[in-house]
Symmetry: C2
């Protein structure tokens, strides 16, 4: 555990309000590890022994069933994941793997459970975090059930433009992960992106440009109750809530 990892963690909504003594005790029991890209950190079905914190790198949350696989979320530093499983002392519902070389802090789940029983402020933070995670997942289910694939793509690209603060930006993740996250195949995404040129969206390689915002919005109908944001909802399964690089 490096000292320079601590400030970023301490500033997370989950940890920022707890008592310093408790924070230090919690961090004392942590393990820190650097992982290469492509490594499986967590396997769905495993007992949830550790809360994970990404302090460097990029992590994918995914699920599989019957040989199929899908991306459930992607996390950038600094973010936590699989809090809910740790708290319930239940098996992980999602797997996690590094997409880049990553540095991960592992917080023993038992320490976590002991701490929020002692520290009311921390309990409140956990409550807020879980509520945010739940709402993020409700939003995800809503977009899957209420929008078709072109609408989902348009809404997601529009939201990323907000995050980037510009009408032209680089895709922060590979297209295949985006496709999987949005519930479609890469081929389907590829075709849909081309067709979206008629709706005010141009995508060339990883560069996205909103050429006609009114048209895009007419298609995507961005909605606060689907496209967020729930601030502080970064744990669990959010897809790139943080600012995306250029």
């Amino acid at each position: 555990m490096r000292a320079q990892d601590l400030p970023g963690i301490r500033h997370l909504p989950l940890f920022r309000d707890m008592r310093q003594a408790h924070f230090e005790a919690l961090m004392q029991g942590c393990y820190a590890q650097n992982f290469p890209a492509g490594l499986e950190l967590v396997r769905q079905g495993d007992p949830a022994d550790f809360l994970h914190i990404v302090v460097e790198g990029l992590v994918e949350l995914y699920a599989d069933w019957g040989g199929r696989e899908c991306t459930m979320g992607i996390l950038r530093p600094v973010g936590t994941f699989i809090l809910a499983a740790c708290i319930r002392d239940a098996p992980y519902l999602m797997s996690a793997r590094t997409l880049e070389r990553s540095r991960i802090i592992l917080v023993p789940a038992s320490d976590l459970r002991a701490t929020f029983r002692q520290d009311p402020e921390f309990a409140v933070s956990v409550i807020n975090d879980l509520a945010g995670n739940f709402r993020t997942m409700v939003r995800h289910a809503k977009t899957l059930k209420l929008r078709n694939s072109r609408e989902r793509i348009a809404a997601w690209l529009l939201q990323q433009a907000e995050v980037a603060g510009a009408s032209s930006y680089q895709l922060p993740i590979e297209k295949r992960f985006l496709a999987s996250y949005l519930g479609m195949t890469p081929e389907n995404l590829s075709r849909a992106l081309k067709s979206l040129e008629a709706d005010g969206l141009r995508v060339e390689g990883a560069r996205v440009t909103i050429t006609d915002r009114a048209k895009v919005e007419a298609l995507a109908q961005p909605d606060l109750l689907i496209d967020g944001p729930d601030p502080e909802a970064e744990g669990g399964a959010a897809a790139l809530p943080g600012p995306s690089p250029e």
Copy 2:
């Protein structure tokens, strides 16, 4: 507020561990109301002023966007809903309506937030409840993204057979709600149900019969990490966790 409503509420995982004085104070501030069938209790986007408890009847959680609508969950007594929005003091992400004449208890969200700050046991219960809700929604997203419609139907009908404890049972909800919950149209469900006769499932009206469990399981591939159960996960958006009639 009737006295006979209290025991059922007190036995909910959310309320069973809190201090009696706090429980009584919380219930003191509640409103109880009987609603006819088909009434909208909560509109998505509204500020979350009340935690809702169904003590009698049947309530649908649903979402809409761009003129489309989908069922997100169905609740039977005794169950709570929209806890997460109350805690975050954020707009509801889902609407709720009565499907039958129902009796609902309304708990002011501000009282709720004040209480879990004072009562550590209650805070732990809230944490567990939210974690369960989150996991329920992850499962829902997983089934939507990883299974096709026939597989989703088979898995759901199989799960209901477990709940009913019999290989033949009555559907606890109308088919159109089931269709919407599973992310398809009623027509599609109707056709799929007929085709499932070849996979060991017979459905006649509301009566479901598993005629060949091995075949059904071969299709549905029931999975603990999708089809539950997370016990105590009854709030939020579970679809019929409770025992179904007949």
